[in-house]
């Protein structure tokens, strides 16, 4: 009599444990990403933005600062062509970042954006960004990496300065080891 009761409860508890494992691996990470995207937490900016015609707010000027840094051991040169621009909300703006590979081997990089203040993240739209793709540079090569963005006219009035920072990661090894099993990583959203 005990045995069957015990087997029943053990099965239930085991199922609970299994579902917590699934929760940790398959639910928590997407949940976290969704949460960050909605709240702009961690300065994660959105993916590619389809520009919609909107009135340009000529009365307001927002300062946008660019920061470029290299992750540990990343030997590339990497910097913004201009450090600060002033834009009217609603107006599309182009700029470029300068990257160069000073080493004697071909390399691949991925830039990861982050934006402060967090609450501006959802009002900063990138219609074109080098961070949407991996960037390959041959040995000794340099390139201009384009960025086109629009600051949303709904940007909260308290925000006057937005700082957009990119960290450049060396993903050469990751790319070469993933060539065969095409991985979802490459289509990550900037």
């Amino acid at each position: 009599m005990w045995w069957s009761d015990n087997a029943k409860i053990a099965t239930k508890l085991l199922a609970l444990a299994a579902s917590m494992l699934v929760f940790a691996i398959f639910v928590m990470p997407p949940l976290y990403d969704a949460f960050c995207e909605i709240t702009g937490l961690n300065g994660k900016t959105g993916g590619k933005y389809e520009a919609v015609p909107a009135a340009v707010d000529r009365d307001r000027l927002v300062t946008v600062q660019f920061v470029a840094s290299n992750n540990e051991n990343m030997p590339w040169g990497f910097k913004p062509s201009v450090v600060t621009v002033k834009v009217h909300p609603g107006e599309a703006m182009d700029t470029v970042f300068l990257a160069s590979n000073p080493t004697d081997r071909d390399m691949v990089a991925q830039a990861i954006p982050s934006l402060v203040p967090f609450k501006a993240a959802e009002y900063f739209h990138k219609t074109e960004c080098f961070c949407f793709n991996q960037q390959a540079l041959k040995a000794g090569e340099s390139a201009e990496l384009p960025l086109r963005f629009i600051v949303d006219p709904d940007l909260p009035p308290s925000v006057n300065t937005i700082t957009l920072s990119y960290t450049l990661f060396d993903i050469t090894e990751r790319v070469s080891s993933n060539l065969d099993n095409k991985n979802t990583d490459s289509e990550r959203e900037g």
Binding site: I9, L21, I112
Partner: protein
């Protein structure tokens, strides 16, 4: 079932007897306690003076990491499981655990897990060196090759804990003697029931987080790698979603032990039994919504900081209820201070100090200063050493006469207590001061102005270590012989375990007892 134990080593290998398995858990955890303790002494010896004297920084980091892992998963948790195995069936009038074969398994996989973990010390690149909290990417991109063995040993420990918890829940829910209603169960049984649910809920999350690490390291995913679109902060959320309930896993059974001991030596029934049960349940529930108090400095929005700050402070309410009940139980009791009671009273006082430093850390703006300093180290050692370790020690002294049939040596017990009590405070109290003054945790070398307090702490640590040898000696002597204990052992203790002979026969309650 009717026969006694098999002779020789086979008894221990094949046993499904809850008392045998309980004893093995307890001895195993004591061995791990000594091993982890030796690592702590390496740490304290190096920190005796500023500068590098004894070990290299790389090895120092391996010591802090292994000390934490071994104490949490090897010493504290198995000791509580051992006590659960021994006492829960005897407290609820059951003949054994509900799933005895699984019980054997959950114990015997543990030595393999820890052998694997300890073997990493001899591997190329050394043992894990990324702290017991193993934050990514330190534990993924920058980890020594032995990290894979670390991951598998965590998997095995998780499996062991989950099996143990399933067993405990099944035993408590299905095997109580007739008349033993839930609200008549001793608090140790209650706290373990709730702890077991916590374990089943969060050990899989720990298994999940190390599995994600494994995939990041070997299979090219990027859960925690920013370069591939993951996020290292995600690691911290998942880890602490496990980690905070884990710290309560290490303290709830302690509440149960102390709630058994204090009434016996105060000679009064426990004050506020049902409020104790509800307080335990609310602590367990709240422990799921406070995890980010370990992450105040990662850059959360202000709303998040405030939520986790208030939720954390809320836990102090049910905890305060418990402390109040213990104090009220002692109030105007006719108290005597045998060794178990000494440890239990010290538990109440010192655990409360740890709770207060916890409250200080819970103040989000203040935590920006305290975070990752020795103040945090002081806090969690005050809740874990006099909390978990003292309560386990108290429980061992309290039930040892029932297990062995012999009284332990009371004088030696008191010597153990005072050495441990003084050693502990000398070790950990100064850490509050160096922490507030800004000494970071997990460093092998430090600025000169911290030298005095560190020297004091190191002396205390060796004293505390020596005290444990007294304990070991006392327990071995008691197992071998000594004054015979009566069946009741203490004066009018409450609980079914005191109705069976001392030493407790190999099989107890083969026919269920009558419960008033």
């Amino acid at each position: 079932m009717a026969h006694g134990p098999q002779p020789g080593f086979k008894r221990w290998l094949y046993t499904t007897n809850h008392k045998d398995i309980g004893s093995m858990y307890l001895w195993f955890s004591f061995a791990m306690f000594l091993l982890g303790g030796c690592m702590a002494l390496v740490i304290r010896a190096e920190l005796f003076e500023p500068g590098l004297q004894i070990v290299q920084p790389e090895f120092f980091n391996q010591m802090t990491t292994m000390h934490g892992l071994i104490m949490v998963f090897g010493a504290v948790m198995p000791a509580f499981v051992g006590l659960a195995n021994w006492m829960i069936p005897m407290m609820i009038g059951a003949p054994d655990m509900a799933l005895p074969r699984m019980n054997n398994w959950s114990f015997w996989i543990l030595p393999f897990a820890f052998a694997m973990l300890a073997s990493t010390l001899f591997m190329e690149g050394g043992a894990p060196n990324f702290g017991w909290t193993f934050y990514a990417p330190l534990s993924t991109e920058y980890a020594p090759p032995s990290v894979t063995f670390f991951i598998f040993s965590i998997h095995i420990m998780g499996a062991s804990s989950i099996m143990g918890s399933i067993n405990i829940i099944a035993t408590i829910l299905n095997m109580r003697a007739p008349g033993m209603t839930l609200m008549k169960m001793p608090l140790f049984v209650w706290t373990w029931l709730i702890t077991a649910y916590l374990l089943i809920a969060v050990m899989p999350v720990l298994a999940g987080v190390v599995t994600m690490m494994l995939m990041d390291i070997h299979f090219g995913t990027s859960f925690f790698s920013a370069a591939g679109g993951g996020d290292p902060v995600l690691f911290q959320h998942v880890f602490w979603f496990f980690g905070h309930p884990e710290v309560y896993i290490m303290i709830l059974p302690a509440f149960g032990i102390v709630s058994a001991i204090i009434p016996t030596f105060a000679r009064k029934p426990l004050f506020g039994y049902s409020s104790m049960v509800y307080a335990t349940a609310s602590i367990a529930f709240l422990s799921f919504i406070v995890w980010a108090h370990h992450m105040f400095t990662v850059g959360m929005p202000i709303a998040g900081e405030l939520f986790f700050m208030y939720a954390t402070m809320l836990i102090a309410v049910p905890t305060g209820v418990k402390v109040f009940n213990w104090v009220t139980t002692m109030f105007r009791g006719s108290m005597t201070f045998e060794t178990p009671m000494l440890f239990a009273v010290a538990f109440v006082i010192l655990f409360t100090i740890g709770g207060f430093s916890g409250l200080m850390l819970a103040i989000a703006p203040a935590d920006f200063q305290y975070h990752d300093t020795y103040f945090v180290v002081a806090h969690f050692h005050y809740v874990l050493v006099p909390g978990a370790i003292f309560s386990i020690t108290a429980g061992v002294y309290y039930w040892l006469p029932k297990w062995t049939g012999n009284m332990y040596n009371e004088t030696m017990g008191k010597v153990h207590f005072w050495l441990a009590f003084i050693g502990l405070n000398v070790t950990f109290f100064p850490m509050h001061f160096v922490g507030l003054a800004g000494m970071p945790r997990r460093i092998p070398d430090y600025a000169l102005q911290f030298a005095d307090f560190n020297q004091i702490a190191s002396v205390g640590a060796f004293l505390f270590g020596a005290a444990q040898l007294v304990f070991l000696f006392n327990v071995i002597r008691t197992v071998q012989g000594g004054n015979k204990a009566t069946d009741e052992v203490w004066e009018n203790p409450e609980g079914l375990e005191w109705t069976v002979p001392s030493p407790a026969p190999y099989h107890t309650f083969s026919t269920p007892p009558a419960v008033r």
